[in-house]
């Protein structure tokens, strides 16, 4: 049996792991049982491990990083989201955030599963070492923005509900959520800056112009501008809480449009990713 079979097998197992984790996180929100939270995190971790195996199989099979078409990127993006979530969880112990991040991961993976997954050789324009930096940082950046968005949703929902004591213990303190969402978005913003800069350097060596106002470029710039506004308002105007949370959700919507919408609706020389 070929590599592709094993890749698909592990991909599906990881997918199942993420579904189970998403459900468990919701049960956690409703029931507030600590055990459920532990189980949800365990399911996420197992799913992540399986996902990593699937990615490795593909890397061995194709001899390169899985960065060069919509399927591979959606798949890596999912991996980036879960990676960022787990990093945050193990550093800050914010279990409940998973309830808002894992569904994003699961949706993105669902999208990946609908796309053709043949291993194609790299077309000449993609044969560049900048591919690794450009797409590698994009995966991390998008993952961070997804987590920041999940944190913002958590913040908004949490500020509506009256909090009983049990829930309070489970959900992190609102102020912490707010701040963390800012820090994660700032990290994503730094990574996005590297994505754009490395893309410009690469474009100059492949297409002669470092910036050509291609729709994908323009949309990543728009995303970057939105997050610039967000950071300035937070830093200088003391924007916090609800308006900031909404801004971070809008920013993430831009990220998604840059990734999926531009390919679907706008003609672009970036048509492979």
């Amino acid at each position: 049996m070929g590599w592709l079979f094993y890749e698909e097998l592990f991909f599906m197992l990881a997918f199942a792991g993420y579904i189970v984790a998403s459900i468990a996180f919701f049960v956690l929100l409703v029931s507030s049982k600590e055990k459920v939270g532990k189980f949800a995190v365990a399911a996420t971790s197992v799913g992540f491990a399986l996902h990593t195996v699937a990615m490795f199989v593909r890397i061995i099979e194709s001899g390169r990083l899985p960065f060069s078409n919509q399927y591979e990127f959606a798949n890596s993006f999912t991996w980036g989201i879960v990676l960022c979530y787990l990093a945050i969880h193990f550093y800050y112990r914010f279990t409940a955030v998973g309830a808002f991040v894992m569904p994003l991961a699961f949706l993105m993976m669902g999208y990946a599963s609908l796309l053709p997954r043949h291993v194609r050789p790299l077309m000449p324009a993609l044969q560049s070492r900048w591919l690794t930096i450009h797409v590698g940082t994009a995966v991390v950046s998008y993952g961070a923005f997804a987590v920041a968005c999940g944190l913002s949703v958590l913040y908004l929902l949490n500020s509506k509900k009256s909090q009983d004591n049990q829930k309070k213990k489970l959900l992190p303190d609102q102020e912490a959520v707010d701040f963390l969402s800012y820090r994660v978005a700032a990290f994503g913003y730094l990574m996005l800056t590297i994505v754009i800069v490395s893309g410009a350097i690469w474009a100059r060596s492949a297409w002669s112009r470092y910036w050509a106002w291609d729709p994908k470029e323009v949309w990543s710039l728009i995303t970057w501008l939105i997050y610039s506004v967000y950071l300035h308002l937070r830093f200088n105007r003391g924007w916090k809480g609800k308006p900031a949370a909404w801004f971070s959700i809008i920013g993430f919507a831009c990220v998604i449009f840059t990734f999926i919408g531009v390919n679907m609706f706008l003609p672009s020389i970036h048509s492979y990713v």
């Binding site: 820090r183 002669s208 610039s228």
Partner: protein, 408 residues
């Protein structure tokens, strides 16, 4: 500063501009760019609005330039305005003040000098004045926003000035042909152009062997491919496209050669003696007939070469042929053949010194962001039975870190 200046250099205007630029760019990506004005007027209900706002050529329109110019003025003014206060905060004797609602992290178990020692080891430097003691780290971080903003200014100005002076063009060459750059007194000769195939006959890479000649002498020889341009005299040369060129030969009925030249795919030539226009519709190295009766090629390998040729007489269609290199056809006593197909290459060249400024700006921008998000100034302020973690950028994260440090 008067009221107008205050507004011109305010963050408020900066944010308004960011949002305006974003909205403008969203519209621009929804419209095809750079087509003739008539197209927009015919195709869109709001054609006149599109033209008035320059959205048909958005990134060189007056409105976009106005936005960018305002942004530059705004950002420059704002950055200069901030420098004095940053220099003040940079001074070693600048003493921080905690926010009114700041949490006092002091507890009974702590010993003043131990705390100082502990944080000294983490890179904090201690100062003392008027009964206050404070440790500071990453003081240079106060300049983060200035570095970032200067980066942006260099990027925008560099790209604008660079584009203004940029030199750009396209040429295509058949092997042994030259492109002459009179102004710079050199020419570029294509020695060879070839494709590298994979097993499935798809193209893996395109290669050009180039020689640069000056006064007839070779001064540089190199091979370029996609992602690996040649640089000469500040000009970059890029492998951009390719196609086939085929030799057209016409002989009269006495066997004299009446024409011998290369035609590129989709190129026509007028043959005066017979008033005949010969249009090479295409050369198909691996010929097949598509289902809509259109010829096509399966791969770029010369497996089954064929030519599709169309003839016109005084602009009227006469005939069309599909033939291979050994075949010929005759028209009014002239024998016409196609053979010796070669690949030609399309090269883009561009000279743009603005790029180096943009790179410098990007570098500053990234350094500035790292300073702003990670090496921002951090203070630990101690009075009798009081201890505060003070910072502007990341109050929560920093005080959490300080708390963790104090616990251990």
């Amino acid at each position: 500063m008067n009221k107008f200046q205050r507004w011109l250099f305010s963050l408020h205007l900066g944010i308004v501009l960011f949002i305006l630029i974003s909205i403008y760019a969203v519209f621009a990506t929804l419209l095809p760019q750079g087509l003739p004005v008539a197209y927009y007027l015919e195709q869109y209900h709001f054609g006149a609005v599109i033209i008035a706002f320059g959205l048909h050529d958005a990134y060189s329109s007056w409105i976009f330039r106005l936005f960018m110019m305002l942004l530059m003025i705004n950002l420059t003014g704002c950055t200069i305005k901030l420098i004095p206060s940053q220099r003040k905060r940079y001074r070693p004797d600048f003493s921080p003040s905690p926010k009114p609602n700041a949490e006092n992290l002091w507890n009974e178990l702590l010993i003043f000098d131990q705390v100082k020692n502990k944080f000294s080891k983490k890179g904090f430097k201690w100062f003392q004045k008027d009964g206050e003691t404070w440790g500071v780290k990453h003081r240079f971080g106060v300049f983060a926003s200035t570095v970032t903003h200067i980066g942006i200014i260099i990027i925008v100005m560099g790209s604008f000035v660079g584009n203004f002076f940029a030199q750009e063009g396209f040429f295509n060459l058949i092997p042994d042909e030259q492109a002459v750059f009179h102004e710079n007194n050199f020419s570029v000769q294509l020695d060879d152009f070839y494709l590298d195939f994979r097993e499935d006959n798809s193209v893996k890479q395109y290669y050009c062997d180039l020689t640069v000649l000056r006064n007839g002498e070779s001064v540089k020889e190199t091979t370029i491919w996609v992602n690996r341009p040649m640089k000469f005299n500040g000009i970059q040369f890029y492998q951009a496209s390719y196609g086939w060129a085929s030799r057209l030969k016409i002989t009269d009925n006495e066997g004299n050669e009446a024409m011998n030249r290369f035609l590129r795919n989709d190129e026509s030539v007028f043959f005066e003696p017979a008033h005949l226009t010969i249009h090479l519709f295409g050369y198909f190295p691996d010929f097949a007939m598509g289902h809509n009766e259109m010829p096509l090629t399966m791969t770029e390998r010369e497996v089954n070469p064929h030519y599709a040729v169309v003839l016109y007489h005084f602009g009227e269609f006469v005939d069309s042929f599909i033939m291979n290199p050994n075949q010929s056809f005759t028209y009014q006593g002239y024998e016409i053949t196609f053979s010796d197909s070669v690949l030609y290459t399309g090269l883009i060249y561009r000279r743009d010194h603005g790029y180096y400024f943009v790179l410098l700006g990007c570098f500053l921008l990234m350094i500035g962001l790292i300073m702003a998000f990670y090496t921002y100034p951090k203070y630990i302020l101690m009075r009798k039975n009081e201890l505060y973690a003070v910072t502007r950028q990341n109050a929560w994260g920093f005080s959490m870190w300080v708390k963790n440090q104090l616990k251990s």
